[in-house]
Assembly symmetry: C2
Homo-oligomer: 510 residues x 2
């Protein structure tokens, strides 16, 4: 039996009262408390859960998911949002309401028939993909992906109508609010102009280098201690979070209790350690979101791209800074003794070694954006209807040859079938990775202007200027501003790939 839906705004009891806004805020905090359980259960699923717990866990997560969906699609919300917009709100409350409206559109723009069909199609495609990928079975995969793409196009149309954005922009907006494909065209257009050539030059530059690999095995308990020491160096608050292990590293939990995971390899120190450093960037963003705003949508991290900018500021900007590597060194040697390969100059060479490869997640800093650019170009055309699923392999081969000089013909497994994003319907997500890298470069450039001796201080072991700047300009801002607004307030200009280019040229050719 449905509750009856109110048709008039809640009464204003006194001048300045904001009953509709207050009601919405209370609903938001309630959802936040339930999301806490969902986040914890998802982390546990990856980090702790034994196999036989799987079915019951999935059912429990689905149950709370249904509850949250019910809260997000409650018919009363539409009226309350309209009422609240007429209430005497201050600027902060207006920002809260702006984000609530965004959420409401995202949660209510799609007909439930489409939501269901999409969920079914991506489940089927993802599930089959787990066996089709190792079998290199493009012919089996393509029909499933075709259905996913058709539904994503439909979704893009619906979201476009609800938001007023262009269809592919409406998909991007789910992950990177405020970003448009026109802006992405500008950014990736710029990148395409100099990246392939830069890769070639850097490879020539590095051709004669001798790089020693540290010799394992590296005890995993010691690797974990090393990871924790690096986290401490990077300011992770262990009173508000933990480090555990999972097959794929991630940063989960809730801002009040961040759960990082990494994985350790016996013979490779870098994977576990730099996994931790990357996730610590995500974690510090979460740990430093404004406490008083938690439970309201402005208390969330701004976007996927912004989040990635934090992990990459840690992993790439700071983590590969010679001054930081020098600080890691005693932590490594305390646990694994001395090796020639641990010499700072060798570590720096190891951590900046450029080597084009087929797999995005294994890519180095310099070739990674080429993988993203390729995917952006293909998915943009796919959603726009300019190409079809059957056109992907040929385009993939051409772009991999152009950007990275690699031959991928016939190798679908390590080609368009390597990522879960498309099978799961997450079109619009890929650009965030490179946006994150570009934001991170822009933040560091801004910090260097604000603190002219920044590099000397990092080298002297003082990371506080980095942390303070990130805290004041990014972490503490939550979703108070739209992304373009935040970028401008923070760095004085719109996203500018020139900083990224300068960073790469300086690091790899400087």
């Amino acid at each position: 039996m449905p509750e009856s839906i109110p048709s008039t705004c809640p009464p204003i009891s006194s001048p300045g009262a904001t009953p509709a806004y207050d009601d919405l805020a209370q609903r938001s905090r309630r959802a936040w408390r339930l999301e806490h359980l969902s986040a914890l259960a998802s982390w546990d699923q990856a980090a702790n859960m034994p196999p036989k717990g799987s079915e019951a866990r999935a059912a429990a997560l689905a149950e709370v998911g249904t509850l949250l969906h019910g809260l997000a699609t409650d018919p009363a919300l539409k009226l309350l949002l309209g009422c609240a917009e007429k209430e005497p709100l201050d600027d902060f409350q207006r920002a809260v309401l702006r984000e609530m409206r965004r959420d409401w559109i995202a949660n209510n723009a799609l007909p439930s028939r489409l939501v269901e069909a999409r969920s079914l199609a991506s489940s089927r495609c993802e599930h089959a993909w787990t066996t089709q990928r190792p079998a290199n079975d493009w012919a089996g995969f393509a029909p499933n992906l075709r259905t996913v793409v058709e539904l994503a196009r439909e979704e893009a149309q619906c979201l476009s109508q609800a938001t007023g954005l262009a269809p592919y922009d409406a998909l991007i907006d789910r992950f990177e609010p405020g970003m448009t494909s026109a802006e992405l065209d500008r950014i990736f257009g710029d990148l395409r102009g100099w990246l392939p050539e830069l890769i070639t030059r850097v490879r020539e530059h590095q051709a004669g280098e001798v790089v020693l690999r540290p010799q394992g095995p590296f005890d995993r308990a010691q690797q974990k201690q090393l990871g924790k020491a690096a986290m401490a160096l990077l300011g992770f608050d262990f009173d508000g979070g933990r480090l555990d292990e999972s097959p794929h590293p991630f940063s989960g939990g809730v801002p009040e209790d961040v759960r990082l995971t990494t994985r350790y390899l016996d013979d490779d120190l870098q994977q576990g350690l730099y996994g931790v450093i990357h996730e610590t960037g995500h974690a510090r963003y979460e740990q430093n979101l404004p406490r008083d705003w938690l439970g309201l949508p402005v208390g969330r991290a701004r976007s996927y791209g912004l989040h990635e900018s934090q992990s990459l500021a840690f992993e790439m900007q700071l983590g590969r800074h010679p001054g930081f590597i020098a600080q890691l060194l005693p932590l490594i040697e305390a646990r694994f003794g001395r090796q020639e390969a641990f010499a700072p100059e060798n570590l720096a060479r190891l951590l900046t070694r450029v080597s084009p490869g087929l797999i995005r997640v294994d890519a180095d800093e310099l070739t990674y954006p080429a993988h993203v650019m390729l995917r952006f170009e293909i998915e943009r055309a796919l959603i726009g209807g300019e190409i079809e699923v059957d056109d992907i392999p040929e385009l993939w081969n051409r772009k991999m040859a152009d950007y990275l000089g690699l031959d991928t013909r016939g190798n679908h497994r390590d080609g368009a079938m390597q990522d879960v994003h498309w099978p799961s319907g997450a079109f619009g997500y890929f650009p965030c990775y490179t946006l994150g890298a570009m934001y991170a470069a822009q933040w560091l450039a801004t910090m260097r202007r604000a603190t002219p001796n920044l590099d000397a201080r990092i080298t002297a072991g003082d990371l506080s200027p980095v942390f303070n700047w990130l805290r004041d300009h990014i972490w503490s801002q939550g979703s108070r501003w739209t992304t373009p607004e935040l970028v401008r307030r923070t760095s004085g200009e719109a996203l500018n790939p020139a900083h990224y280019r300068a960073h790469l040229e300086r690091r790899y050719l400087g």
Copy 2:
């Protein structure tokens, strides 16, 4: 806006249909899925959570608690239960409905004013107790406890009216359904007749014994490996559960994914190891509850006493069996080398050393029931109005002198203030500990009748007759039968303290 409450039974669509029962079963499964998240979050709180996660976790647990309370007190349940009782249910469904009715009474018998007052009073009493206990501040504690007792009496009256049980029986029934104070009088009356004298005789018997204590320190990582080896020996399914650490050992999680915890002391092997063995008894009960019934109330473990009978069957009956100790020995020596104290005869003496003390949770197998008997006698008189809170210290002193020969005068901290049960309002809980020990003895006696060479098989390393019997007779039965019915079906007689007495006499004087 409340939903309108249906006033007629759901229509029967076809002969034999049971729509009200089906609706109730669906509601039950929904609550089960939410309880999963609550159980996981509670386990994590004790085993993993860093301090700053506390506030958000409490709020999240309260939120799901409110949701579950709403489901349990939904006004539609009353009608549905009445309708289902008239539906053509089979015996199994009748048992489900019996348990649903029990739950409904427990959740709806108390006026919300009383629920709130009780929660407030016990929170206040517990909170103050945490500082009053170390300060031995009985004068400060007594007024708070008085309020808790008054509300517990009121609660007992309400539950009594709803169930038709006597007031204290109605409190017991929350923990040990079907157990009455008349039955407890019989059982503890029997115990009082022989226990104090048996303790005296055993102490004389053990007076001349030399017992060596194993010399630590014992590496904690090795202790954890030892605990896991013991769990494996005891049939714990690691594909459906884990072992972690927490300040107080417990068995949590859900039947599909049982989360055990223990704590390790550097200089005492026994605490960590026997903590694990105890909790493994609880765990195997949960892991072997009938899968198909999970989500329905018959799928739950039967009672607190029955649960304790499993942990004590493992910790006391099996865990201190000479044949089992002999199997532990190589596991211990593999990790900690040889010590004279590890000799099986010495370990057996160590594990059966009787030493009356003030603290219940530190008590040995033989003196433990004296602690429980004392508390049962006092709380029974307290709820019955025969005594008041101010009478407790004198009664405590007298009974501790009578039962254990100890002087507790003026020592409230290690007297009536030592347990959290009364401050938290859990009257009726204490008897379960000794009921559990008695059930466990009765199960072993029954197994010995069914498998005459049981002890020889345990000594030969074959524990399967024990596990098979427990699985077939206890674990697989869930809450299909009432407790007295289960005891009779399982062992052919009502709970009979003679088995417990025979076990103790044989072990401690035999």
